[in-house]
Every structure is written in C-alpha cells, then in structure tokens.
Symmetry: C2
Subunit: 461 residues, 2 copies
C-alpha cells in the first residue's frame, strides 16, 4: 500500500493541473447576492459536481429555493473508518468597485506580489474557492495514489454563504440523515502568518439588518423645504451615531447580555502573540483601534461584539451636486456576536432603538439579513489534537489555536442540527483582501493547503 509520502509527492507533481482546475472554477462569476448572477452560481455548482464525480465521488447538484447545493459521497474501504463532512462555499462576494482591481476579478492569474510571494489573483481565490479546492485536490491525490480515502468523506458545497445562507438550515434539516458524519471539516478560515497555521476555536455570530427611513413622500427641493421638512439622512445619521458611546461600547439595551470576559489565561496567550495595533492595523493604512477602549486588537476582533454599518445611501450621490432633500435613506448594518448573545434579542433591541429615534412623521422599514449565534469549540478535543499534529508536520511553525472575528453560521448549525463538532482549518492570509478589490490567495496556501488536508485525512484515519 502506498505511503503518505507517495500521496504528497503526487500532489506536488500535479500542482499545475490542480491550478488549472481551480482557474476553471474561478472564472465562473458566482456572485450569490446579486440575482443577475444566479445562472453563474448554478454553473459553478455543476462544475463542482462534475469534478467530484471525476475523482470517484457519488455527487449531484441539489436544488434549493435559492442557489443549489452540491453533495458528494465517497465511502472509505477501511472498515470502521471515521466519517467526515467537508464544507465549503462556491459563491463569492460582489466585485465593486471594479475600477480598483488591478486585474479582471474573474480572469485568474499567477502574479508576483510586492513581497515576492507568488499569488493567485481574482475574486474567490481565498474566499472560498481556492480553499475548498485544497480539500478536493487532497482527496484526488489520495484516490489517484491508493484508490481509496482514509476516511469516508461527504462533501457539502453551498452557494449562498455570502448572502446569509437562507437555504442552508432547511437543507440540513431535510437531509440530516444523509449529511450526518462523525465530525465536520470547514475550510474558510486563515493562517496566523505565512509560516504558522491556525485552527479557529471561536467564531463570532452575525445579525444583519437593513433599514430604510422614509420622511416626505417625494424628494424635495432643499431650498423650498430645507429647515422645515425632516431629512431622512439626518435621521439615519443620528441613529448610526447613537449606536456607540464615547468609549466605543454599543448602546443598545441588553446588547452585552451573554457577553463574558475572555478568561485571563486566554488573554495572556493572545497577548503573547505580540499583535500590536500597529502590526494589526498598519497593513491596512490605519493605526488607532476604533472599537471599545482598553482592549487589545485581538480581543476586539476575536472576543468582543460589534455594530458596523456595511453600507449607506440616500439622496444624490452622482457627479456634481443636487440640492435635494431625499425622501428616504437606507443603511445595511451588521452586528458581530460573541458568547451567548441572542441574535433575535439583538435584532429586537436594535429595532426598538431605531423606532425610538424616529421623528413622529417619519417611518422605517426593516429587512432581515441572516442571524446566527457565536460558536465556541472545545480547546481540548481529540479532533483538535490530531489536526494539530498533522499541521505541525507540514508547516515551519506549529499551529496556533485562535479566535476568529468572522462568522461561519454553518458551524453553529452543524452543532445544533447534526450534533457534530467542526474542525476549522484554513490557509488564507490576513492580506488576502477577501471581500475587497484585488483578492488573492498565496500559491503556497493552495499547494501546502492540499498537503495539509492529505495529512489531516491520514491523521484522522
């Protein structure tokens, strides 16, 4: 029987072909939040199902009320092999502002970054197409070398992760028996630095809200009505400005219910990582931590809840000037949750706050954009131990167990609906510009990511 070194060698030798397959997927503009791209989302799903069938999975595209899922199965020939469910998402973020991209976001290429690193450029390279393909390519290497997988593998690819995953829960519920495994593997997170892999043991939750404040029943001339008529941009600005107090805390009633202070030994571990505000914010052109005062930047993004406006619009924003008082103004606002904060309670508190800030003759409409609680994974599980050992064999430095600022709602769903613990391993870098122009994925992340999954599948056997 082939040794793991043979499998790793095959993966090394076939990186160009692996990359060519990844590029095919990256060229499909599967932007899930914009209905105009629905056919592209389906195309990406069909491409992935074909890939899985090519390497010997029983795979199919599954319709949902939104974008389709891809589900694939491949049983291990070893009796009693562990059964893992791998999750990734094939949808990507919008690409605007397009003018800020140096290269076509959907024409991927290998380029040399300013620091000499070779990177794959394009939307979805890091979030999450490049990452999910590390796992597919690891399975391919196992299967092509040995004709088998060390674990039984179920794969679930979603196409709505970037737009609130509306179809995910119903799909998990309807297919729970098919999807249930011993544990889940999720590849949608990052490394600590280029030499140091990371396993994420905490994830912030998310509540998304869109509000539209309406004042007059039409746009008004600001000369004829200015000073007498309500301006919805002012109302919205007061609502947003009032969300935080002078110390950076969120002002909503009950917002901190369920938020606990980070244990001092964890804080001490994080402090030991030497992540100063300068090191964290410097690479993005900033220097002053903007959130709650008196907390480290890692604590702010890993262990504290937030309220952030993700978009605002109202009135005339084109070239030139228009002396108008808008009829309405809108904002998209998200809350990141930690600990046992309740998404429904946060949403209700926010809506009550907004209504209380509203002048008597203005109205507000709310639109819900997803909600999920925060997740904490046990720091001492056997799964974590096996993955740590496998990663330590692949990378220069041993892996860190860290928190995470983002939200991956499915991890909570796996826990609550399928009773599965998740292992969060990913190879993104902090400078990958995910959700931004010029997204990239290090070639080393892709290559050593494949090798990492080869080792982890082996370690879990």
């Amino acid at each position: 029987m082939a040794d793991i070194s043979d499998i790793l060698a095959l993966a090394d030798d076939t990186v160009p072909a692996s990359l060519e397959r990844l590029f095919e997927l990256l060229r499909i503009p599967s932007i899930s939040t914009d209905p105009a791209y629905a056919p592209e989302c389906r195309k990406a799903a069909e491409w992935l199902a074909r890939q899985l069938r090519d390497i010997g999975f029983d795979a199919s595209v599954r319709d949902t009320p939104g974008h389709p899922m891809v589900v694939g199965h491949r049983a291990s020939k070893s009796p009693g092999a562990r059964h893992v469910l791998f999750y990734g998402h094939y949808d990507v973020q919008p690409v605007d502002p397009l003018a800020l991209w140096d290269n076509d976001p959907f024409d991927p290429a290998i380029r040399e970054a300013a620091d000499g690193a070779r990177v794959i450029t394009g939307r979805g390279t890091s979030d999450d197409k490049g990452q999910l393909m590390t796992f597919v390519e690891a399975c391919r290497a196992h299967l092509e070398t040995t004709g088998d997988l060390p674990c039984s593998v179920t794969i679930l690819f979603e196409g709505e992760e970037e737009s609130g995953s509306p179809s995910l829960k119903p799909f998990l519920e309807a297919n729970a028996a098919e999807l249930k495994a011993d544990c889940a593997l999720v590849c949608d997170t990052g490394m600590w630095d280029r030499d140091t892999p990371a396993i994420s043991a905490g994830l912030r939750g998310l509540v998304g809200e869109e509000i539209t404040v309406t004042a007059a029943d039409r746009d008004l001339h600001s000369g004829a009505f200015g000073g007498a008529a309500a301006n919805p941009v002012h109302v919205l600005s007061r609502i947003i400005a009032g969300l935080h107090d002078e110390t950076g805390r969120v002002t909503l009633d009950g917002f901190y219910d369920g938020v606990e202070e980070t244990p001092s030994q964890i804080k001490a571990m994080w402090d030991g990582l030497g992540m100063t505000p300068e090191r964290f914010l410097g690479p993005i052109g900033l220097s002053v931590p903007a959130g709650e005062k008196g907390r480290s930047v890692l604590e702010l993004v890993w262990a504290r809840p937030t309220a952030e406006v993700n978009g605002i619009s109202g009135g005339y924003a084109g070239a030139g000037f228009k002396t108008v008082i808008a009829a309405e103004a809108s904002a998209k606002i998200s809350f990141r949750l930690v600990g046992r904060q309740d998404p429904a309670a946060i949403r209700n508190s926010f809506r009550a706050y907004v209504r209380a800030m509203l002048p008597a003759d203005c109205t507000v409409a709310f639109k819900e954009h997803g909600g999920s609680p925060a997740i904490s994974l046990p720091y001492d599980s056997a799964l974590l131990g096996m993955a740590k050992a496998a990663l330590a064999d692949e990378w220069p430095n041993p892996p860190l167990v860290i928190g995470m600022g983002g939200s991956i709602p499915i991890v909570g769903d796996f826990q609550s609906m399928l009773g599965m613990e998740s292992l969060l391993v990913g190879f993104a870098q902090s400078d990958d510009r995910i959700h931004s122009p010029n997204e990239k994925y290090d070639l080393a992340s892709f290559h050593k990511g494949i090798s990492s999954w080869i080792r982890i599948l082996d370690a879990l056997s």
Copy 2:
C-alpha cells in the same frame, strides 16, 4: 398704435403655438450636472438663440468653459425707454430615480392633475424652461402686435444654474458693459397659491460642500476587522449628527454671525398668511417642522439658515448584503444662508468642525460646490410697485411680497457686479415637484405667466 388688450388677445389666441415651442425645448435633456449631457445643453442654447432671432432679437450662443450662455438684445423704439435684463436658465436637474416618473421626463404632455388642473408634465417644465418661455412669448406677443417692445430688453439664459453656475461670474465680469441694464427681471420663483402671485424680496444664499472621509486603504471584511478598524460611515454619521443640536440649531462655530431676527411686522404679515405646519408639510406627507424649534414654517424656510445633507454614500448599497467596512464614505452637504452670513466663513467653520471630528488615522477631502450670500430686496422700491400693479390686473388676488427659501445666486451677482436691482416674479406652484420625479407646470401658470410679463413690460415702459 395697438392697445395692451390687443397684445393680450394675441397671446391668448396663440397659446397652442406657444406650447408647441415650449415642448420643443422641454424635449432636449439639458442636464447640466452630468457631463454626458453637455451636447444636449448646447442644443438647448442653440434652440433658444434661434427662437430669439425668430422674434427679432440680435441673439447668439456664447461659449464658456462650461455650458454656453445665450445672450439676446432688442432695443425699444421709444426714446428713453427703460432697459431691462431678463434672466432664466435652460439647464435642468437630473431625473433619477427614473422609475418614479409616471411619464417620460423628456416627452412633455398636457395632462389633467388629480385636482382637475391642466398641467404640463416633464423635467424643466417649472424649473425653469416653462418660466423663461413665458417671458419669450410675452416679447413675441408685443413684437407681433406692435412691432416693438415697451422696454429695451436684453436676455441672458444660463446653462449651469443647477450645477453651481461656475461660469456665470466670469461671464458677467467679461461682458458687464453689454449686460448692464436699469434693472433685472428673474423668472425662477413661485406663486403664493393658484390665485395669488408673489414677488420674492428675500432669497437664501447657498454654500455647497462635498466631503469624503477615508479610513483604511481598502474595503475590509467586517468580521476580520470589525471592532478594531475605523468605519468611515460611522465617522461621517457622527459628523452629520453633530451638525444640529437638540433644538435644531446648527452647531458650527460662528454659524449665526450675521443672522438677524425677522422684523416683528414682517413676521406678523407672514403669520397672517395662515400657513400652519399642517398646510405646509401635509402635501408632502409630513407634519412636524424639523428645523429650529419655536419658529413658524415660513420663518424656517424664508428667514433662517440651514444645514442639509443632499446625498450620502458609502459601502455596499446594492441588492442583498455585503459584510464590508468601506474604505471611504461621502456626503454632499449644503447650507442655506440668510442676512449677512458669509459663505467663506461658513465653509471654513464647517471644514474645521469636520477635521476636529476626524479620528487620527482617518483623512478627509473637501470639494467646493458653489457659494453665494443671501439677498434682500427693498420692500418699497418703485420697480416693485409697478410690478405689483401689473400683476394685480392679471390675477384674481393681489400679489404678495414674500421671502424665499431657495437660492438664486445671480441676483446677488447682478447686485454686486452690475449694480442692478432684480425683480423676482415667477409662476411656479408649490406642488410643481421641481428637482423631483413628476415635475409639472400648470397650464394656467404658463398662459397667465405670458400675460403677466406682457403687462409688466407695459407697466415698466
């Protein structure tokens, strides 16, 4: 020699032809603020110059660094006749949001409004093409009936009124000798109601500013950076929210320097007009005066300064949701000025305020969009007396002398640069939806507006 009744009769008889000419002008989408429509602005200017030549003016299109001016002259044969300069603007506001228009904004038509009034629909019908054509048609009626005008008339049509009039001052300066007259006539204002004409004796000034707040050097993932990185939408919202205090007063240092209380006899006259908040705000779907507390709505829009946001944008505002922290956020803000408020001082005070509100690692860029002081015209001039008498002959109710919330910077320029008093007479109605979708102009405003100018020209002779 023909009597004024003959001239009025000719105008009455030729309304259909007058309307056809107006429609030709309305069909030209001369949106001055959007560079894409520059050829249409020139087309409107050329059309107007042709019209003036057709009725016997010596008229031409004059280039400027922006959109062209139209200048026409026609001397009266009466020795010692008064010389008037008529001003109007042929440019119009943008039409977005286009979906809210019931009819094509550039395909004018006569329709019946809900209240039974016959109205001309389309962008520019009321602001200002319909209005300026009342004067052109009045000149035509005089000339066609008598072969002469009772006053020597110079006409100046501008194409940049809706975009800050950048070329106007240099043009007035360079052509002062040609444009100087005994007084100016400006038709860009409204009536008190359908039966009551109005002469505007006070105009608010305007300072336009556009600010762009930049935080990080790229858009950020709100999970990875939220809570630690500055959010420019929050910064901008705090800036806007802080512009007004609890009583609705503008908070900028020195903002009220030069603002005087309205004389009690003027206030009493305004109070006598019976304009309640309900009557003023009800037609636009509002009920609560939003500006400084303790003042009447007429005082708020005629005699008090304002700060209004005319547009705001930042982050993702498309369909769906994007968990992004934007790199930058922008707002267009205008200040309406009264009394002796100094536009330059207001602009400086605003910029100092914005800079003081800025976190240390954020930057701001300012863009100037025009500035002009407020204007007060003497309530007791001979010109005003003659115009009042002429209007009283045309309309069911005698004219009111009122204030005005809007800004017509040229009135100040005529005063300061050409030493001319202006007479502001216009026939717009408060429900004309200028600057908004479904702009209209009453057919009666157009028809009786022509007759009004016929009478005023006669009265000034």
